[in-house]
């Protein structure tokens, strides 16, 4: 029995070491492949360069950053209010047993492969944008002609994809607000809505905030779904119907045929993503820890 336990312990330890080493190696590899070209090209030129044209040796990733940023922000604008409203509804308004069923099905959304979302966007969303949103634009400016592959399409799909994260984490933190706060508010003559907006949401704000940050991390890192529906044009978008290319999408598409330098540049793009997502995760962790401290 003793030896058996010891063996298990060793196996677990080994797995932990392996996991840590893999992460370390991947990090090392990305930086080793991307850093030299990044330094050679110049970090400023790389990040603030407005032309992404790898075949001509122009490696300015500002259009890609703009692409990623625009659909990420768009997805947050759509997804955050929806997600919080949904979380409030599940935590405070719906009966417990129904809330459970709803929450379960929203969490299922997280399990759908992202290419399926992309495909859904392709066959449903893009034609819809072309048919219903584009005419609104053309009403003001008849010259406009767009395909539907756009910031808007990416933002909508990403909003759906980050919903499970936002809803389930926000719901947990709203439900964890002590009932005493709610009672205190109601006993002062506040109605349900005032109590939710002024007491429950503020009291749950660090949890809600970290859910948003994690959702944002997911939106930035998402590749496949946005690749299929944003049009992949490395240009800074002017309107929400313009096509854009994202950091992740560009890596995925160009890695296959990239020349050696181009390939190293794509690794440098990877470094940018890595750093951004690392920072977001750290912020999220810190704010979660803060809830623990308060409770």
């Amino acid at each position: 029995m003793k030896t058996y336990e010891k063996a298990i312990e060793k196996v677990i330890l080994l797995s932990a070491i392996m996991a840590t080493i893999s992460v370390g190696l991947i990090t090392f590899f990305i930086f080793r492949s991307g850093l030299p070209v990044l330094l050679e090209y110049g970090i400023i030129d790389f990040i603030f360069g407005t032309t992404w044209s790898p075949t001509n040796g122009d490696y300015g990733i500002l259009p890609l950053i703009a692409g990623t940023l625009s659909i990420t922000i768009g997805s947050l604008i759509i997804g955050v209010p929806t997600g919080i409203a949904c979380a409030v509804f599940l935590a405070e308004i719906l009966q417990k047993k129904w809330a459970k069923a709803f929450k379960f099905s929203i969490e299922l959304l997280a399990g759908i492969p992202s290419v399926v979302y992309g495909f859904f966007g392709l066959v449903v969303l893009i034609p819809a944008i072309r048919e219903y949103i584009l005419p609104i634009y053309q009403f003001f400016d008849p010259e406009v002609s767009q395909t539907g592959f756009s910031v808007l399409a990416g933002a909508v799909i990403l909003a759906i994809m980050i919903l499970p994260t936002i809803v389930s984490m926000s719901e947990n933190s709203i439900a964890a607000v002590p009932v005493e706060f709610k009672e205190a508010s109601l006993a002062l003559g506040a109605n349900k809505m005032e109590t939710i907006v002024r007491v429950l949401i503020p009291a749950a704000k660090s949890g809600i905030l970290s859910s948003i940050i994690l959702g944002m991390g997911r939106a930035i890192g998402e590749t496949m779904a946005v690749l299929l529906i944003t049009g992949n044009m490395a240009k800074i978008p002017g309107t929400i119907l313009d096509p854009v290319a994202t950091l992740t999408g560009t890596i995925a598409m160009e890695m296959g045929y990239a020349s050696p330098t181009h390939q190293q540049v794509l690794f440098a793009v990877g470094i940018v993503l890595f750093v951004v997502i690392m920072i977001l995760n750290i912020i999220a962790q810190l704010s979660v820890r803060k809830i623990g401290g308060n409770a």
Binding site: F181, A187, A190, N294
Partner: protein, 251 residues
């Protein structure tokens, strides 16, 4: 002497469990009424029927009438928000919001539409003075309320309740989580508050009931055994059960 609450034939059920049985009671204006009785006898439940806090619990049914200033609060069109504004509540565990001291006090007035900064400032000062806390905290109104001591938090909760200018204050064992010093501060406060407000207080502490209240009501198993002037209850109760409880022979 005016009657604030007139309770007649009040029955309350949690699902099929009857927690209150045929309660008849009058609660008088500007008096302190203490509710005593062993654990689980229905004191908190009764207290919460007076500002309709039991409405929050699923499966509660209530029969009978509770008249507040002559009007049945369980009537069809009764405005609960107005009721809760007039009938404030202080809970057993101090429960200030995780906001600043200032924000805690102005929460109620703001909800009820007060926006004027000077008026709100005055409310904060007045209520903190009423709970004898102004000197202690006037320099840290913008600090988190959760940084106060337990006794201060409870007095802040009383101030928060006073800020909406209630007529009645319901208190459910307001000192049970506090040390003797903080307790005596709050007891002293009660006497002053009774000049302006009607107070109903649940307590497990017989000395406390004897010290602070004008009327005492003894609850047992969901029924009111007797209600009378506090001196009478403590010196010459009509019911044998009351005497046994007060002298500590059970409960």
């Amino acid at each position: 002497m005016e009657t604030k609450f007139e309770i007649e034939k009040l029955n309350l059920y949690y699902g099929s469990f009857q927690a209150l049985q045929d309660i008849d009671m009058n609660i008088y204006s500007n008096r302190i009424t203490a509710l005593i009785g062993p654990s689980g006898c229905g004191k908190s439940t009764f207290l919460r029927t007076l500002n309709r806090m039991n409405d929050l619990i699923r499966g509660v049914t209530i029969e009978g009438t509770v008249k507040f200033d002559g009007e049945d609060i369980y009537g069809n069109f009764y405005d609960i928000i107005k009721l809760r504004k007039k009938v404030g509540m202080v809970f057993q565990k101090p429960n200030p919001f995780p906001k600043t001291i200032y924000e805690n006090i102005v929460y109620g007035p703001k909800i009820h539409g007060e926006k004027n900064k000077t008026v709100l400032d005055n409310i904060v000062e007045r209520t903190l003075k009423e709970v004898a806390m102004w000197e202690e905290v006037k320099d840290r109104l913008q600090k988190p309320a959760l940084g106060l001591s337990g006794g201060q938090q409870q007095r802040l909760c009383i101030a928060r309740c006073l800020a909406v200018e209630p007529e009645v204050i319901l208190m459910d064992e307001p000192t049970s989580a506090l040390d003797p010093v903080a307790t005596s501060k709050i007891e002293g406060l009660l006497e002053e508050l009774a000049e302006k407000y009607t107070i109903v207080i649940v307590t497990h502490n017989m000395q406390q009931a004897g010290r602070v209240s004008d009327y005492t009501s003894f609850f047992l198993n969901g029924k009111v055994i007797e209600t009378d002037k506090t001196e009478v209850i403590f010196s010459n109760p009509a019911n044998k059960k009351t005497e046994e409880y007060i002298t500590g022979r059970f409960g």
